[in-house]
């Protein structure tokens, strides 16, 4: 049985989204798929969001006026600034219904269309099959596995590194 896909509104993340983030970053599914800690406090989440580097692209997916997912493109320093790191998370109650797809599409549109990035990279736990499938659909390719990458529920789990390379933006074709 396929649940009806959601059609979330995608918009920039704003300070008013803090409470929604505190709620969904603390959910068991989000914690399992990311590096979030148990019982995130408001101050912890606020600090985490504030520490993202200048130039970060941060979008949220909104349904019924509430942010239920987010994606970030974190820029790198010079000599690596043709690339960015992508992070994404979706509220436990809204997974499997197209929210991640909508967030990925919007973030990569900015990466390709506005930032002209050549490389977008991400890491995902090796057993997170739905996420890996999502990333593959958007052209991400596995580049390797870091062993004992992070602690998750009492185990040291491996992380798959994926990246998506893009050709440089084309020159405009005036007069056409």
């Amino acid at each position: 049985m396929t649940a009806t896909p959601f059609a979330p509104t995608i918009r920039p993340r704003e300070p008013r989204d803090l409470d929604a983030f505190v709620e969904f970053l603390g959910m068991p599914g989000v914690r399992r798929g990311t590096l979030q800690m148990p019982y995130p406090s408001r101050a912890f989440v606020e600090g985490w969001l504030a520490r993202m580097p200048a130039g970060t692209v941060a979008l949220v997916a909104e349904i019924d006026g509430k942010a239920i997912g987010g994606v970030d493109l974190l820029p790198y320093a010079p000599r690596r600034h043709h690339g960015a790191h992508l992070g994404i998370a979706v509220h436990d109650d809204y997974v499997g219904r197209g929210v991640g797809t909508a967030l990925m599409r919007a973030a990569l549109q900015i990466a390709d269309g506005d930032l002209g990035l050549r490389r977008v990279e991400l890491t995902v736990f090796v057993d997170n099959a739905p996420a890996i499938a999502l990333y593959r659909r958007f052209g991400f390719v596995a580049e390797g596995i870091t062993r004992c990458d992070s602690i998750r529920d009492g185990e040291l789990v491996d992380a798959l590194h994926m990246a998506r390379l893009t050709d440089p933006p084309a020159l405009s074709t005036p007069g056409t």
């Binding site: 800690m37 000599r79 690596r80 690339g83 490389r119 596995i145 870091t146 004992c148």
Partner: protein, 182 residues
């Protein structure tokens, strides 16, 4: 066979090292194998030393008054508190003398025996065979090859992530009450 300088010293980095460290980081062969930007201002290195987080162990190698190498271990936080990222550079004129081996041995000893880390990782530009050989000697293996990850002299080059994984630290072997009936 190495030609290890007799008066080589390994010690923690000090605020006074800022200028020498900056000069080291701007050497052509260092820039060719590490991501800092050529012409980066001196303040960047000064601030780096002054603002070292308590989770970073940073050491330097000196021969007399000359700073001939640097290395650091940046320990992770939260769900990555079991691991660290390692970085190392040796002065152009002092390469091939065993200084990298000494710096590596110092950090690995700290990581294994005093921090109790399970994983150390590092990044190395593809094709840096001398560095790859040094890291392999200490048990690092290539885990990831990031394509086109860094710009060097007009080309996007690949970067390897190497990892080294250890068993958990042991219980004390003498006089431990572990397992004794209470």
């Amino acid at each position: 066979m190495t030609d290890l300088p007799a008066d080589l010293q390994i010690r923690p980095v000090e605020a006074d090292d800022a200028d020498a460290l900056h000069a080291l980081r701007q050497m052509p062969s260092i820039l060719a194998q590490n991501p800092p930007l050529p012409g980066a201002p001196r303040e960047v290195t000064r601030e780096l030393i002054e603002n070292l987080p308590p989770t970073t162990l940073k050491i330097v190698a000196t021969v007399g008054a000359t700073l001939v190498g640097e290395a650091d271990l940046q320990v992770g936080r939260n769900r990555r508190a079991h691991r660290a990222t390692l970085g190392i550079s040796v002065h152009d004129a002092w390469q091939g003398r065993g200084i990298g081996t000494q710096l590596m041995a110092a950090l690995i000893d700290a990581a294994d025996h005093w921090y109790g880390l399970r994983r150390i990782e590092l990044r190395v530009f593809a094709g840096n065979e001398a560095a790859l050989a040094l890291y392999r000697k200490f048990g690092f293996e290539i885990e990831v090859t990031q394509r086109a990850a860094v710009l060097r002299d007009g080309f996007l080059i690949d970067v390897h992530i190497m990892g080294r994984v250890r068993e958990p630290i042991a219980y004390m072997t003498t006089g431990s009450l572990k397992g004794e009936p209470q």
